[in-house]
């Protein structure tokens, strides 16, 4: 049994006219990557910032490493590292100076170069943050959360706004941090990111957690876990009728004779494939549904970028 490092119970955050977080409870286990997944405005950041001690909860309890945030936030601060959503750092200090200064806040001497090496930024040690690209800034912002060698690292939308390559770089970095034995809790609205990175995911919508589980179990919990997409110009009307009875058939993006189908069981999947085969499909892909499919199933919508 793994230790619980964060435990959140019945957390509520109310603003004047809005219940941003509504009765949220979950636990984060030691050494895992835990993801809060949801659209903008779902309450992910608010939840995270309440755990970080930046915002005060309206009600509910939060314990971090066994310490109550209301009473022992100062102790907690020593043991956590925080990366904020799209935050900048001092303009007129070099990367090295910023890391050393932040280390001082914890009373620690920081080996800034070693941290910078971790994200291939050691050659920028004496540059200002303003000289970095978006991906570099984001990487820097993550290692800046490591200056105190924290037990738990909070990453708020670490890859938002990055191009796919830079995003992949960051995933590697986050995996590296996990390998050091640290627990990571992150928010994201990229389903793919949650699927690749997170051991466990909580799907949030309108301030509530809709579903929470290990990532692969979540996907399997989908009602229609199997997916076929195919392009078959020769397919007949009665074959399509047959398929429609077996699962959910949809015309993919309006392209003629290009279909996608979702099925509940392996048996149905096998039958469907053999039917499609008779009409010599020009392309046929069989797959598992993704987190995105589950998300659509749960919320009835896609996440818009």
């Amino acid at each position: 049994m793994m230790d619980t490092v964060i435990s959140v119970k019945n957390l509520v955050k109310e603003y004047k006219d809005l219940r941003a977080v509504n009765n949220v409870s979950f636990e984060v286990l030691k050494g895992e990557i835990f993801g809060l997944l949801g659209e903008n405005g779902a309450g992910k950041t608010t939840t995270l910032e309440m755990i970080e001690g930046i915002r005060k909860p309206t009600s509910g309890t939060i314990k971090v490493l066994g310490l109550e945030i209301k009473k022992e936030m100062n102790k907690i601060k020593e043991k956590i590292g925080v990366q904020l959503q799209s935050s900048a750092y001092y303009n007129y200090l070099s990367l090295k100076e910023i890391l050393e200064l932040f280390g001082q806040f914890y009373g620690k001497e920081v080996d800034a170069l070693k941290l910078l090496e971790m994200v291939d930024l050691s050659y920028k040690a004496n540059s200002y943050v303003g000289k970095l690209s978006g991906g570099q800034k984001q990487r820097f912002s993550i290692i800046a959360s490591l200056v105190n060698d924290p037990e738990i690292v909070f990453l708020d939308e670490p890859t938002t706004g990055l191009d796919p390559l830079a995003r992949r770089n960051l995933w590697e970095l986050i995996a590296k941090i996990k390998d050091q034995g640290k627990t990571i809790i992150l928010t994201t609205h990229y389903l793919e990111e949650a699927e690749v990175l997170c051991d466990r995911v909580a799907i949030m919508e309108k301030g509530e957690i809709l579903k929470i589980d290990e990532t692969h179990k979540l996907i399997e919990s989908s009602k229609e876990p199997y997916k076929i997409s195919f392009y078959a110009p020769k397919i007949k009307e009665n074959a399509l009728k047959q398929l429609e009875n077996m699962g959910r058939l949809s015309n993919l993006g309006g392209k003629t004779n290009h279909f996608e189908m979702r099925l509940k069981t392996q048996t149905l999947l096998n039958i469907a494939i053999s039917i499609i085969h008779e009409y010599k499909p020009e392309s046929l892909t069989v797959g598992r549904s993704t987190l995105e499919d589950l998300f659509i199933e749960l919320t009835g919508k896609r996440i818009e970028e």
Binding site: R55, L84, Y90, Y92, F105
Partner: protein, 360 residues
């Protein structure tokens, strides 16, 4: 906190643009005002004198005129040329003493000519009344008459200072105000916008440590500011600081604290950096002109001066001038000192209530 102080100091020095505004901008003002007002001419401009007579009376007239120090006096050789200089606004007024003026022979000229244009009427009337007074006394001497009525004048025995000295202290106040109000307001709202403040709240740093380091590093800058202005004023333009330099610094730093706390208040109320910039300009520019940087508040209409005397910069400048120019002690003007302290307390209270490192 010491490391944070050093880091803040480093950042202040590296921010070249802000450094220019806080250090060199006031120095430019010092140079400009120094060049206009610092030397010799008591603010009335230059006078051209054409003296064709070599009588005793004419010579004495010329030298007394030079001795008054009201004008910078230059000699020219023809009245026409001198008049041309007046027309071209090269000199404020021309004075012509004709040949043989001052001899008592009946046929010789008995009149001094003065020439000025209406725009320089003030200079004109000064020289007119000077000449009248001077010639009246000469007339009486010649006629061996004794004056019956006269004026007794008494000059205050306060230390002497001129308009430039007055302005120099004003410029110190202006520099402290501009760099502290704008510097703090802009830096803090940028930190807020960039979420640097929020990021700091996730570390064990306490807000008082953060703010303390910020304030102290800026006080160092203020110290340099005041020193540069004083150095240029005193060494390049012979400004007089009659009172205690030490007290001038102490008052300056008290002023800086007042203006920094105003900066924090502005940062607390503005949502963006641009808003902070606008708000601080809207506060500092009117204060610069109304609170007595360039001219005494008393010369404003009464209704206006009775209001502007309460602006934070006004009592500070009165104190600073009292100490620097009139050799007062800080306690000679408890009312103004009190006003400054009241402002500090008000600003600190608002800042403490409204300025937060992060929103809730």
């Amino acid at each position: 906190m010491y490391k944070l102080f050093l880091a803040d100091l480093k950042m202040l020095i590296r921010n070249k643009q802000a450094l220019f505004w806080s250090l060199f901008f006031p120095l430019i003002f010092t140079f400009v005002f120094g060049s206009f007002f610092a030397k010799g001419d008591g603010g009335s401009g230059t006078l051209s004198i054409v003296n064709k007579s070599n009588t005793e009376i004419a010579k004495n007239f010329e030298s007394s005129l030079k001795d008054t120090g009201i004008f910078k006096v230059q000699n020219d050789d023809s009245f026409d040329k001198a008049k041309e200089l007046v027309d071209k606004d090269k000199v404020s007024v021309a004075v012509y003493i004709p040949e043989k003026f001052g001899s008592l022979e009946p046929g010789d000229p008995k009149k001094i000519k003065i020439y000025y244009v209406p725009t320089n009427r003030q200079a004109g009337s000064i020289i007119e009344s000077f000449s009248n007074t001077y010639l009246t006394s000469v007339n009486m001497q010649v006629q061996k008459a004794l004056p019956i009525f006269s004026v007794e004048k008494e000059e205050g025995n306060k230390p002497k200072f001129n308009y430039f000295d007055f302005i120099l202290i004003g410029l110190i106040g202006m520099a402290l105000m501009n760099s502290s109000v704008q510097g703090v307001a802009i830096a803090m709202s940028r930190y807020k916008e960039d979420k640097i403040l929020k990021r700091l709240t996730t570390t064990p740093v306490k807000s008082w440590q953060f703010i303390g380091a910020e304030v102290f590093s800026r006080l160092v800058l203020n110290f340099v500011q005041v020193s540069l202005i004083l150095l240029v004023g005193v060494y390049a333009y012979d400004a007089h600081i009659n009172g205690s330099i030490f007290l001038v610094y102490i008052l300056s730093l008290i002023g800086a604290i007042l203006f920094q706390s105003m900066g924090f208040v502005i940062a607390a109320f503005s949502k963006t950096t641009d808003a902070a910039e606008g708000m601080s300009t809207a506060i500092t520019i009117p204060m610069m002109f109304l609170a007595g940087v360039f001219f005494p508040i008393d010369s404003l209409p009464k209704w206006l001066s009775s209001i502007v005397q309460y602006l934070p910069l006004a009592p500070l400048l009165k104190n600073l001038r009292g100490v620097a120019l009139e050799k007062n002690s800080v306690f000679d003007n408890p009312y103004n000192m009190g006003l400054v302290l009241v402002w500090i307390v008000i600003m600190l209270l608002i800042a403490a209530k409204r300025f937060r490192l992060s929103e809730e």
